[in-house]
């Protein structure tokens, strides 16, 4: 009997087989061991590369689309000019709002091999990492100059237990109604007449009676429906109610303000495109662009969408802020993981993005605005200029966004997205209020690690 080894001698075959199984074992074993050997033995280093060089900066971010990629690349270029010895290793993970990157990061964190810094929305989105002690406080990065020039609520959004954990690079605005100027002109609607939610509904009624779809919504990915809910809550419930809501104080399903907000949202839904559940947020913007709908409630990244389509602000489209005295903040920040391999390079990066120079390089291209209040206005378009002035005005109330991960724990946000997505199809106010209150008790309060002070 002979094994079908094609002429190779038995002995040789045995050796190679042993070697192969050994290697397979080795790979598995090293995968298991090396993640646990922060202080461990030296023998494992065989499978690891040489000692990490200090002059590397490994960054994870999710800016992969057209304009945003150019924006972050421009910042990288400026950083390189300043620190020519630091090599930037950028790992962009596509997927809007970092939906895919969160999963990648969680596995990296659990394996104990985080990048040197990564992008994360300010506020609760970073709370799972903070609770697991996987981020380092960066109080030394926050100089007095930064403390002086960042608005107070924005600082609150990156602070946990009295420590700073992140540096914001930009500010987006969530509470904006974008409208097609041609449609408004055709039907003689004055955008300045829209001061509150009731005005908005009045305009919607008028447009609907003339056969125009008033609002475009695209909630196939669910969050755009929550986004509108958030804006309706701010407009109808007010900032005080919003603060109570995100602090988990709304625990009564019969809370009259909660019901009022849901009823207002149900009313709003009478004026949206019927196929909203099949569309995405950008397709909804597309309806406004094509003239199939007059308005859409979306964050100011819609501005980038319209510009990319060749539209001119204040000529083809405009923005109405609702409620006008509120700035609903969506903020991108960078953090310092506790087990970063190159913390010194990361700290240089964090200090750098806290400067006017970095923020005014990034934001004009990205379409957002600088978080610092001393950045010059020149490089910005008319809508951005207005937003910058609003952000710096003392009469504007700043609030962290719910939908974009800042104001509430991720577990509660996940519930809320499903609840609102159901509400959008059945408009059942009582059921929804009950579900929301249950979710507050189940997933907000147990995960609450900070108290918001907005008013």
């Amino acid at each position: 009997m002979k094994l079908p080894l094609g002429g190779v001698s038995m002995k040789k075959a045995m050796y190679s087989l042993l070697l192969v199984s050994f290697l397979v074992f080795g790979v598995i074993a090293s995968g298991c061991i090396s993640s646990k050997t922060e202080t461990g033995t030296t023998t494992v280093t065989v499978t690891k590369s040489v000692a990490p060089e200090q002059n590397v900066l490994e960054i994870y971010h999710w800016w992969t689309a057209g304009g945003e990629k150019q924006a972050i690349d421009a910042v990288f270029k400026k950083f390189k000019e300043k620190y020519p010895n630091i090599e930037i290793k950028a790992n962009p993970v596509s997927g809007g709002a970092g939906v895919n990157m969160k999963m990648v990061l969680q596995s990296l964190m659990l394996a104990g091999k985080p990048p040197d810094t990564f992008q994360v929305h300010a506020g609760y989105e970073m709370s799972p990492y903070i609770k697991a002690n996987q981020l380092t406080p960066i109080d030394d990065i926050w100089t007095d100059d930064m403390k002086k020039h960042y608005p107070q609520v924005i600082q609150q959004m990156v602070m946990f237990n009295g420590h700073y954990y992140a540096v914001p690079i930009n500010v987006h605005r969530a509470n904006v109604v974008w409208y097609n100027k041609h449609i408004f002109e055709k039907y003689g609607i004055d955008p300045n007449s829209i001061k509150n939610f009731d005005d908005l509904i009045k305009v919607a009624q008028e447009l609907k009676s003339k056969g125009v779809t008033p609002f475009a919504l695209g909630d196939r990915n669910k969050w755009p429906a929550t986004h509108v809910f958030e804006v309706v809550m701010l407009s109808v419930g007010g900032v005080q109610f919003y603060q109570d809501f995100i602090n988990g104080k709304i625990t009564d399903p019969d809370n009259p303000t909660l019901k009022k907000v849901l009823e207002a949202y149900a009313e709003y839904l009478n004026y949206v495109n019927s196929d909203h559940a099949a569309k995405t947020w950008d397709e909804a913007c597309g309806l406004v662009y094509k003239g199939d709908a007059a308005m859409t409630i979306m964050g100011d990244w819609a501005n980038g969408y319209f510009k990319a389509k060749g539209w001119k602000p204040d000529v083809d489209y405009g923005a109405i802020v609702l409620p006008s005295n509120v700035y609903d903040l969506v903020i991108d920040t960078f953090v310092l993981p506790a087990k970063a391999a190159h913390p010194e390079a990361a700290k240089k990066w964090l200090s750098f993005i806290g400067t006017v120079e970095a923020q005014n390089t990034f934001n004009p291209i990205k379409g957002s605005i600088p978080a610092r209040d001393d950045a010059p206005l020149d490089p910005y378009g008319p809508i951005q200029k207005q937003f910058i002035k609003d952000l710096r005005s003392s009469s504007t109330k700043l609030v962290p966004s719910i939908t974009h991960g800042s104001a509430v724990p991720p577990a509660f946000l996940s519930d809320l997205n499903d609840i609102i997505s159901t509400f959008v199809t059945n408009k059942n106010v009582d059921e929804t209020a009950k579900s929301i209150v249950n979710a507050v008790k189940q997933d907000l309060l147990p995960n609450k690690i900070k108290e918001w002070k907005l008013t």
Partner: protein, 294 residues
Amino acid sequence: MRLKFREESFYSLLFLTPAIVLVGVFIYFAIVWNVYISFTDWKGLIPSYRFVGLENYRILFHDPVFWTSFKNNIILIILFVPGSLLLGLLLAVLLDRKIKFENGFRTIYALPFALSFVVTATLWAWMYDPSDGVLNTLFSILHLDFLKSNWITDPHVALYAVILALIWQFSGYTMVIYLAGIRSIPSEQYEAAIIDGASSAQLYRYVIIPQLKKPTLSAFVVLMVFSLKAFDFIWVLTSGGPGTSTFILAVEMYKETFAKTKFAYGASIATVLLLLSFAIVLPYLYWSYGGEKE
């Protein structure tokens, strides 16, 4: 030549070792680990192994979203599995009629299965768009307006729309399996039946289809297992929505584990999925191996 039987089995064992080790670590150990996690209170990014018994299961069985997902999963199995089998059989029977361009048709039918679920889900999102999607536009042109639907945007229809798209994608696979099964039947049997004067309907009814038990069984298990772990297609097409109307267990497991970082709770959903697949696979093993002995 001097090798004895025992040595031979030693070699086969040796050659199998790498595979056994890999499967053992990455599948069976992972399964045991998962069941163990489901009895702990692990929440958040720091692993916690405090034993809490059946607490996660108690919460799970009181969670209405779990029951919605469970119900949807059962509906998915009941409609998707026979649907794919029947459509695949029909395609195989049609292709078996010695038609022209058989290879071309076979490729066309089998192609969807070769595509990634992310691609096909994106495609179906476009097919199902109620206002300017392919289906509704087509029905308008053909004056078949009664067939128009809101598809994935209507919570009462969405699940069935998802199942229809999945049947489309998997029927190519079952077609290939059935066609191979039909072709493996010895031609003497056809000839004998035809000489005996069997019509082609009778040929299928009495000669061919009864011999397709094996391919049916193997396709059945693949489809069953898929319907338990179907995730990517649904996630891309509807994200489980509108609301929770197209949630299935895998979608809920993903949400609980990764969006809410409730690792132990997610593990308990995974364990329920594991038990469900046992309930399906064990009878199959019994049937296929037990049946052979007779």
